[in-house]
């Protein structure tokens, strides 16, 4: 992590798998080349470790420990990163003492240029090897440890960047600081503006959250045409009669490209499931409140499996083997989806 001012936080944990499908990720190939390169070289702390900053920190945190006061005071170990922060200074310059490397600047620049302009901090792992005392001069070096593939989170789509910093006091290693940020493209601008407008006008009417729209293309158009007629269609290879789902251009068994369809009877059982607790997606929660909801892998009577929601029972009553029956749910005026109703009432 560069030692600058980019520390934030938010709902940045990865979202449900249904949001995460990303076909090609060419940017990742370019970003991942930066792993192992320096993030900061020979950075120096803006100020030596000092009693006033320690006191301000303790006052803010409500930390009354006597270890951080008096003639033998040490700095709270959790201040480690604070000593490396640039503070309220202008845009980075080569000699601004932050030591930020050209490589790290390029990496962030690539992300900014691709629209991933926002940043939040998600993880901080620190190890403290020796106490910091007033007067200690801080220096640091950091490396870009890794860049993730593109991930979709509640905040938006982006890339996690992990850096690891060695912090030295008077030249001696005093601590290590691993830091992870999400560089992302905000996903909720519209909804935030709406919330903001609501605050200003005291308007309380609430728009329902909408589910994401399906991406319909030549390979799956037949499936969605079936849904529109309330038929769940499974592809069948006309060469070897193997059923397949989800829809694909070719047969995984014989590589045949010719196919027809079989309409699912609608009977199935829960093969596996997960419960989505956080972050909340109000559109997926039957109550619209964003509470937990179950995402199940349904094994249809025909033998293929499909991901979907289970209705008719609370999320915590979904279990492996639960018999379900297909039905179609209109989630909003423009979207209808196959869902699966538990057929034994719990």
């Amino acid at each position: 992590m560069k030692p600058g001012t980019r520390a934030g936080q938010a709902d940045a944990q990865e979202a449900s798998p249904s949001h995460g499908a990303e076909a090609s990720d060419q940017l990742y190939e370019r970003l991942s080349a930066y792993a192992g390169r320096p993030a900061a070289t020979a950075g120096t702390g803006r100020d030596p470790v000092n009693a006033p900053m320690i006191r301000h920190w303790c006052e803010a945190m409500g930390d009354t420990s006597p270890a951080y006061r008096g003639p033998d005071a040490v700095a709270p170990p959790t201040m480690l990163q604070a000593w490396t922060m640039r503070g309220l200074s202008a845009d980075p310059e080569p000699d601004d003492g932050t030591g930020r490397s050209a490589a790290y600047g390029e990496l962030l620049g690539l992300l900014d240029g691709a629209g991933y302009t926002s940043v939040v901090a998600t993880d901080c792992e620190q190890e403290y090897l020796r106490p910091l005392r007033p007067g200690d001069l801080i220096t640091f070096d950091a490396v870009i440890e890794s860049v993730s593939r593109r991930k979709t989170t509640k905040l938006g789509t982006g890339y996690f960047v992990t850096t690891c910093m060695d912090v030295r006091a008077d030249g001696e290693l005093a601590g290590t600081h691993r830091f992870r940020i999400l560089k992302y493209r905000p996903a909720q601008r519209k909804s935030a503006q709406r919330k903001s407008a609501q605050r200003r006008t005291a308007e309380v009417e609430k728009e329902p959250a909408l589910r994401p729209r399906p991406v319909i293309n030549r390979d799956n158009a037949g499936f969605w045409a079936g849904v529109a007629e309330h038929r769940l269609l499974i592809q069948r290879c006309t060469g070897c009669a193997t059923l397949r789902f989800p829809w694909l251009p070719g047969c995984n068994a014989c590589a045949g490209q010719e196919w027809d369809t079989v309409e699912a009877s609608g009977e199935g059982t829960v093969f596996s499931h997960v419960v989505m607790h956080h972050p909340s997606f109000p559109a997926f929660d039957p109550s619209g409140e964003g509470g937990p909801y179950a995402v199940a892998l349904i094994e249809l009577a025909e033998g293929v499996r499909i991901v979907g929601n289970v209705t008719g029972v609370p999320y915590d009553k979904v279990r492996v083997g639960l018999p379900v029956r297909l039905e179609f749910l209109r989630t909003d005026p423009d979207l209808e989806l196959p869902v699966f109703r538990a057929s034994e009432g719990g």
């Binding site: 803010a60 930390d63 270890a67 959790t78 620190q126 403290y128 956080h278």
Partner: protein
């Protein structure tokens, strides 16, 4: 007279009101001038409903929670946190902790108990923070530590 720490012990919860003052003071004390930590209008423009606490403040509060409990002779060795639901003004952060590992080691020639605590912090939105903290406390200094304990000596730290 001393009460031994044991794996599985729960720390008393600590509830911290998340005031606007705490968020701003924590950001400035950590030299973090990102506008989302002090300017509500700019935070909203960036898609956040309000300003929110920065990760350094959460880190500091987690550290304080542990040293408040184990006493001023306790020294933090590791703090690792992951953030989830943001801390917005008006919320309350409720920190809880549970001892998950204990061992005695020699550090710089002195015997210490290394205690690893799993920490969680919840607010009304959900889980704000999950983390693990390793803290070293002196062993058998009469009266200094309310609960020093000696357990089997093993190598290495936790987390």
């Amino acid at each position: 007279m001393t009460e031994a720490y044991r794996v599985g012990d729960e720390l008393p919860p600590l509830e911290i009101p998340v005031t606007r003052t705490l968020i701003v003071a924590g950001a400035i004390a950590s030299r973090d001038y990102q506008d989302v930590h002090h300017d509500a209008e700019l935070a909203r423009e960036k898609g956040s409903p309000d300003i929110f606490m920065n990760i350094l403040t959460t880190n500091g509060l987690v550290g304080r929670y542990i040293t408040d409990h184990f006493g001023s002779a306790a020294v933090l060795r590791k703090v690792a946190i992951r953030l989830g639901a943001p801390n917005y003004p008006g919320d309350v952060l409720r920190l809880t902790g549970r001892i998950v590992a204990l061992e005695d080691v020699a550090l710089e020639g002195e015997n210490r108990s290394l205690i690893e605590v799993a920490v969680t912090g919840d607010n009304r939105i959900g889980r704000h923070v999950t983390g693990k903290v390793t803290v070293a406390i002196p062993v058998a200094i009469p009266g200094a530590i309310p609960g020093a304990v000696t357990v089997a000596i093993t190598e290495g730290g936790g987390a």
